[in-house]
Amino acid sequence: MSAIVCSHVDKAYGATTVIRDLNLAIEEHEFVVFLGPSGCGKSTLLRMLAGLEDISGGEVSIGGKVVNDLEPGDRGIAMVFQNYALYPHMTIFDNIAFGLKRQKVPAGEIKKRVEAVSRTLGLEPYLGRKPTELSGGQQQRVAIARAMIKTPKVFLFDEPLSNLDAKLRNHMRVEIARLHQSLKTTTVYVTHDQLEAMTLADRIVLLKDGVIEQIGSPAEIYRRPGNQFVAGFIGTPNMNFIEATVGRKGDGWTLTGAGTVLSLEGSGFHLQHGDRVVLGIRPPDLKTANGSAGNILQGTADLIEFHGNDALVTFGSGGKEISALVPARECPELRALVRYSFDEESIHLFDAETGKSLRRQQVS
C-alpha cells in the first residue's frame, strides 16, 4: 500500500494556478525528494500534504485515508521547517513535549519519550535551555526531535538545511540519512539543492511550474534525463547544450552545429533527416583527445576554473561556450587550443522544439 497518494491535485491562488493536475504515489518507507527551482510549487505541495494549505482540486490520501479536510494534527504527519519554527519562549524539553502534552499523554511517559528522543539526537545537555541559546544545527535537531517524538506515519521536511552553513549542512544531511535508515519512516523532503536530493533520495520528483517533469531514482534522473530541463537542472557543472541539425550519412547520422560536423551511429535515438535537435554532453564526459579520430570538439580555452582534483575548461566552438571537466594534471594553458572527444553512449539528444529526450526506451 502506498503511504501517500496524490491524484489530480490542483492548487490555485485566485486566478494563478501553482500546481496543475499532479499525480504521485509514494511508497511506504520511501525517501522522496521534491526538487526544483524556486517557485516551482514544491513547498506548496508539501504544505498541502501537511494541511497548512488548502487543496483546490483533486485528492490527497495518507496511509489509505483521504486527508483533504483533515486538520494538520490529525493527518499522522510531522514537519520540520526551514527556519526551525521552535517555540521561542519554551525550553527545549517543552518544545519537544508540546505535541504530546496537547494529546494528553501522561507526564511520566512524556518524560521517558523526550529523554529517549533527545538521546538519539544528542540533545540531552540542552533540555533546560531556550532555543535562542542553541546554535542553528542544534535548533534544527530540536525541530527534528519535535517531529520524531510523535512517531508519525510520514515525515515532511521543508528545506531543513538551507539556513545552515555548508559544513553543518553536510553533517546534518548525513544525520538525516542515518535517521531514515534506522526509523524507516516514509519521508518527503523539499529542497532546491541537487546534492541533497541526489544523496538522500530513493526517488526524486523534479518539478517545474507546478508540473512533474520527471520521477526517478537519482541515477536514472542523472543518466537518463527525460527532457532538456531535467538534463540542465541536474548535474554540476551544468550540461553543455549544442543546437544541431540531423543528417543521414550511410548507415549512420551526422549532427551539424557549433561549427563542426559530428557523426553518430545513432541506434539509441529516434532520429530523422533534417530534424533540429539539441545535443547534451556533461562536462565530465568530455575527454582530452589524443588523435584526430572520432568526434572532436575544439576551440580556444578562454576560462579555466580550478576545482582541486579537476579543472573546468571553458572554450568557444562555433560561437558556442562549451565546458569540459578534466583532471587537473591535464589542464591546458589559458588561450591554448583544446580538443576534446566523447563517446556516443554518454551523449543526450533532445527535440529542439519540445525539449523531450529522443532516446529510445530500453527494452529490458
Binding site: 494534527g73 521547517f81 519554527a85 517555540y87 508540546f98
Partner: protein, 288 residues
C-alpha cells in the same frame, strides 16, 4: 574635542531646565503646602507639619477613596486587557485582511474622542428613561427602570465600561497588529502539534508577545490613574462616595466642599508616593 563635548550640553541643558521647572516646581510646592494648614477661605497659614497626613488616616472618606481607586485601577486594567486580547485574537482568527482594516478603523474611533465627550455620550446612553444602553432592559422588562449610574453597586462598573470602551477597543487593534508581526511558522508547527485554535494562542502566540503586552498593561495602568474627567462628568464621585477616587476626593476637599487645599495637597503627595513605589516595584518584578 571641545566642540564635541559641548554639543550634548547645548541640547540637554535648556530642555532639562524647562522640564525641571515644569515638573519639580509644582511638585515641591504641593509638598510644602501639604505641611501647612492653608484654606481657600482665609489668607493666613501656619506650619502644621505632618498633622494633615495623620488626619487622613482617620478619615473614613479618604480610606473609602483609596479603596475605590484600587478597585477602579484593577477593574479598568483587567477589563481592558481582557477585551483587547479577546477581540484582537478574534479578529486575527476570523476576519480577512479587508475586514480587519475596517474593524481597526472602527475600534480606533472611541479613543480619538475626548474623554469629556465620551463621558457625556455614555451618560446619555445610560439614562434610565431615554438611554440607548438601557433600552434593551426596558424592552425586555416592559418598561422597568434600570439606572446603573445611580446605584452604588453598579456605578463604578458603568463608568469603567466607558473607559474600557475607549481603551480596550484601541488596544485590541494593537494586539491584532502585534499578532500579525509574529512569524507564521511556530503557529503552523503548533497546528501540526495537535494544538487547538485557543491553545495556539494560550501557549504560543500570547507568550511570544509577553513583553509588548506587559508594556501595554503599564500604559493602561498609568492611563487609568488619570480618569478624573471621566468620573467627574458621569457621577461626580456619586452616588454617595461609590465612585469617589482619590483625585475626586482631593478635588472636592480642595476646591468644592471645604477649600482645604493643604489637606488636598497631602492626599496628592501620598498618591504620588504610593504610585512611585508601586510602579517601581512592578517594573523591577517584570524586568527580573
Amino acid at each position: 574635542m571641545r566642540r564635541r563635548s559641548s554639543l550634548p550640553v547645548t541640547f540637554l541643558v535648556p530642555t532639562l531646565a524647562i522640564l525641571l521647572v515644569l515638573s519639580m516646581v509644582p511638585t515641591l510646592y504641593a509638598i510644602v503646602i501639604a505641611l501647612q494648614n492653608r484654606e481657600l477661605s482665609a489668607p493666613g497659614y501656619s506650619w502644621v507639619w505632618f498633622s494633615n497626613f495623620a488626619d487622613l488616616f482617620s478619615d473614613r472618606r479618604f480610606l473609602n477613596a483609596v479603596w475605590v481607586s484600587v478597585k477602579w485601577e484593577i477593574v479598568t486594567v483587567v477589563a481592558t486587557m481582557v477585551v483587547a486580547i479577546g477581540l484582537g485574537v478574534l479578529m486575527f482568527e476570523v476576519a480577512g485582511p479587508r475586514l480587519r482594516n475596517f474593524y481597526c478603523l472602527l475600534f480606533i474611533i472611541p479613543v480619538l474622542l475626548p474623554r469629556v465627550s465620551a463621558a457625556f455620550v455614555w451618560k446619555f446612553a445610560y439614562h434610565p428613561l431615554y438611554g440607548i444602553a438601557t433600552y434593551p432592559y426596558r424592552l425586555i422588562t416592559g418598561g422597568l427602570i434600570f439606572d446603573p449610574l445611580s446605584k452604588p453597586g453598579s456605578a463604578l462598573f458603568a463608568v469603567a465600561s466607558v473607559d474600557v470602551w475607549q481603551w480596550g477597543l484601541f488596544f485590541a487593534v494593537i494586539v491584532l497588529k502585534l499578532l500579525e508581526t509574529l512569524p507564521p511558522q511556530p503557529i503552523e508547527a503548533a497546528r501540526l502539534d495537535h494544538a487547538k485554535r485557543w491553545q495556539i494562542h494560550a501557549y504560543v502566540t500570547l507568550p511570544m508577545l509577553k513583553a509588548p503586552l506587559i508594556s501595554l498593561m503599564f500604559v493602561k495602568m498609568i492611563e487609568s490613574l488619570r480618569s478624573f474627567d471621566l468620573i467627574y462628568v458621569m457621577t461626580r464621585g456619586g452616588p454617595g462616595v461609590a465612585t469617589e477616587t482619590l483625585d475626586m476626593y482631593a478635588f472636592s476637599q480642595g476646591f468644592i466642599e471645604s477649600g482645604k487645599v493643604s489637606y488636598a495637597s497631602a492626599m496628592a503627595v501620598l498618591m504620588m508616593i504610593a504610585t512611585v513605589i508601586t510602579f517601581t516595584m512592578l517594573w523591577k518584578r517584570v524586568q527580573a
